[in-house]
């Protein structure tokens, strides 16, 4: 007996891709037939081809991963790949939440406040992670936030004449 197949991360991700592909495919029906006039490719032609390719490729990866997960040794990523090591997701989660906060706050609180808070928080996270000294990290992050926020305003608004929202009272 080889034991039960335990889906690994690769298989779950392939499954997610298949679900996303199905969501994409659900819209194809609104685009009409793949060949208008019977011969000329229409708006749905390429999306149908792409859906089929993705089902095939993701399906193949899913099956291969399910087979691999039955074997004792999990495959090791090649050294030269861009693979991100499977360590905690706390860091990316914090950065994602901070960036979401920036995106949500920019139009409401304006550039100076949002950018200042965002760069302070991102710098604080990396500084604290680097040194572990909280007081020093806060001071360096605060200086970083002031400089980078000022730099961004100077370049975007003053030098390149692009628009950034200001505080709306």
């Amino acid at each position: 007996m080889t034991g039960s197949a335990r889906p690994n991360g690769q298989a779950i991700f392939a499954l997610v891709l298949l679900v996303l592909n199905t969501v994409y495919a659900s819209q194809i029906f609104k685009l009409g037939v793949p060949f208008s006039n019977g011969v000329e490719p229409g708006a749905s032609f390429l999306p149908i081809v792409l859906c089929a390719v993705l089902y095939l490729a993701a399906g193949r990866i899913l099956i291969a991963e399910l087979r691999n997960s039955r074997s004792a040794d999990a495959p090791v990523p090649s050294e030269k790949s861009d693979h991100v090591p499977a360590i905690g997701i706390t860091g990316p989660l914090i950065i994602t939440l901070l960036t979401m906060g920036f995106a949500a706050g920019l139009e409401r609180a304006g550039y100076i406040v949002t950018a200042g808070a965002y760069t302070f928080a991102v710098a604080l996270y990396f500084n604290f992670e680097d040194g572990g000294r909280s007081v020093r990290s806060v001071i360096v992050a605060a200086i970083t936030a002031v400089i980078i926020t000022g730099f961004g305003w100077l370049f975007f608004v003053k030098l390149f004449d692009l628009y950034l929202p200001t505080w709306i009272f």
Binding site: V39, I61, D82, V84, I87, T99, L106, Y118, Y125, L164
Partner: protein, 497 residues
């Protein structure tokens, strides 16, 4: 050619020259820091280009490109941590020389080879761009489709790792490109009832998401001790003059090796999916094959260092040729440069050179002059290069995060595009976590509209007859090249193994 040489006079005026200098310094900084690349630097610059004149934007991009590719080898030599993948081969012999106490000489030879390679690449670009551009004027929609297909297939099959994952990444990119108005009829697709999606997913959020936001998230997974806080070995105090290359060694390496490696770099650069890493690897292998003492390769060979680094920077000129003349970006950097053109209303491809010589010529000149800057930079900044790897990560990633997100907003005036960049970044992070390559996805986003437009346009012309793609000699040639590349790069290695 004479028109293109006229670009030097524009370049040597105050603002264009300052843009080149600024771009070069930015590229040097980003290229030298492990984890950051020229691609990221140009991606971050993209929002700013909205506020620049097209000539200045292109000049600045060329400065970043040349410096970024060169600087990837700096920390490769000093710390054995290449700042960018392009510096990986150079660091084999470069770091071996460093360990022998010849670090300054290794850095100077590295810069000299980069300079020579970059200049040869820029000259070949100036020589070939107009003839190829003139030839490309004869391409009609079937030829253009076959050419785009060649790029799509080649970029996919040269990706490292699983072919299936590369196919998925390319397909995802092509899918993203189908969102929005249909290229042939005014009809929205895949908008899911949102008016934001009717206008499609812009290139800017795709580039920022795939390269900047994704990199930010990746760096947040890497513990500080594994990132840049590597202890720098004790080194004797170096002076600026220590970074002047030893002419005896340069003569020993020989002019032919520089020229041959540069030509290899240009040819690899012209291939879709080629890139600096492949150029340096092939030139290195060729130099080793013809070397008098191949056993020295890997142990601190001057020839190995010169070959890989000449090819690296010559590749820049080669990669620009298909972009400008055929409208086909071959790698991530040229794909983003493609975006710079589009932002300014210029469409790369046949006719661009003749219609916009005034905008393009300074760009060529910038590539050439930036190559000369490489040599100057090592003499000026060589003693400080070791400190580059010790920059504060908080400041660096705070900067990248802010410039990315605020940049998307400032250039699109759309909060939605900012959210889109974040969503693409998170998705790209997941792709990278599971070893899916990002470059085919970006190429899919960029080439997708063209692939579909040329396919459907050709089929309308031929009234649905697919033979139109093989009755045209150029189209047939591109299709045969596609098949040959698939055989050489994927099928034959599989059969042999």
């Amino acid at each position: 050619m004479l028109d293109l040489l006229g670009g030097f006079s524009t370049l040597f005026t105050l603002w264009p020259f300052l843009y080149l200098l600024g771009g070069f310094m930015l590229g040097l900084f980003f290229g030298a820091i492990p984890g950051l690349t020229a691609t990221l630097a140009i991606a971050l610059l993209l929002p700013f280009t909205f506020g620049m004149e097209v000539t200045n934007a292109l000049i600045m991009v060329m400065g970043i490109y040349m410096a970024g590719i060169y600087a990837g080898s700096i920390t490769g030599i000093t710390l054995n941590i290449p700042g960018a993948p392009s510096g990986a081969i150079t660091s084999i012999d470069g770091h071996a020389l460093m360990k022998k106490g010849q670090g300054a000489q290794a850095l100077s030879l590295d810069a000299f080879a980069s300079s020579v390679g970059g200049m040869i690449g820029a000259l070949i670009l100036m020589l070939l761009a107009q003839p190829i551009g003139a030839l490309a004027l004869y391409f009609r929609t079937p030829e253009k489709f076959s050419l785009v297909l060649l790029a799509v297939v080649t970029v996919t099959i040269v990706s490292r790792g699983s072919l299936w994952k590369a196919i998925i990444a390319m397909t995802l990119g092509l899918m993203i490109s189908t969102v929005g108005i249909d290229p042939m009829v005014p009809k929205g697709r895949f908008d899911f009832g949102s008016y934001h999606l009717v206008e499609g997913i812009g290139l800017l959020p795709a580039v920022i998401g795939l390269f900047a936001v994704c990199e930010l998230l990746v760096q947040a997974t890497i513990p500080a001790r594994n990132a840049m806080g590597v202890a720098v070995a004790d080194m004797p105090r170096l002076r600026h003059r220590d970074f002047i290359p030893d002419l005896h060694i340069v003569r020993e390496i020989g002019a032919w090796l520089y020229i041959k490696s540069s030509i290899i770099g240009v040819l690899i650069g012209m291939l879709p999916g080629g890139g600096a890493s492949m150029a340096s690897f092939i030139a290195y292998a060729e130099a080793k094959r013809t070397a008098k003492h191949p056993s020295e390769f890997g142990q601190g060979s001057h020839e190995g260092l010169a070959a890989s680094e000449s090819a690296n920077n010559a590749m820049c000129g080669g990669a620009i040729i298909p972009l400008l003349t055929l409208g086909i970006p071959g790698d991530a950097v040229t794909a983003i440069i493609f975006g710079v053109f589009l932002i300014h209303g210029l469409v790369p491809g046949p006719g661009l050179l003749t219609q916009h010589t005034d905008a393009i010529a300074p760009m060529f000149a910038a590539l050439f002059v930036a190559s000369a800057f490489v040599m100057i930079s090592v003499i000026a900044f060589g003693p400080f290069y070791l400190r580059l790897a010790r920059i504060n990560r908080g400041a660096l990633y705070g900067f990248i995060g802010l410039i990315s997100m605020a940049g998307v907003y400032a250039s699109s005036f759309s909060g939605f595009q900012m959210w889109m960049a974040l969503a693409i970044g998170i998705f790209a992070f997941a792709l990278r976590r599971f070893e899916y390559p990002a470059v085919p996805m970006l190429m899919g986003v960029i080439l997708g509209p063209y692939l579909e437009k040329f396919l459907r346009g050709s089929m309308i012309v031929s009234q649905g007859d697919p033979l139109i793609f093989i009755t045209s000699p150029f189209s047939l040639m591109f299709l045969v090249m596609t098949a040959v590349f698939i055989w050489l790069l994927r099928l034959r290695p599989g059969v042999r193994s």
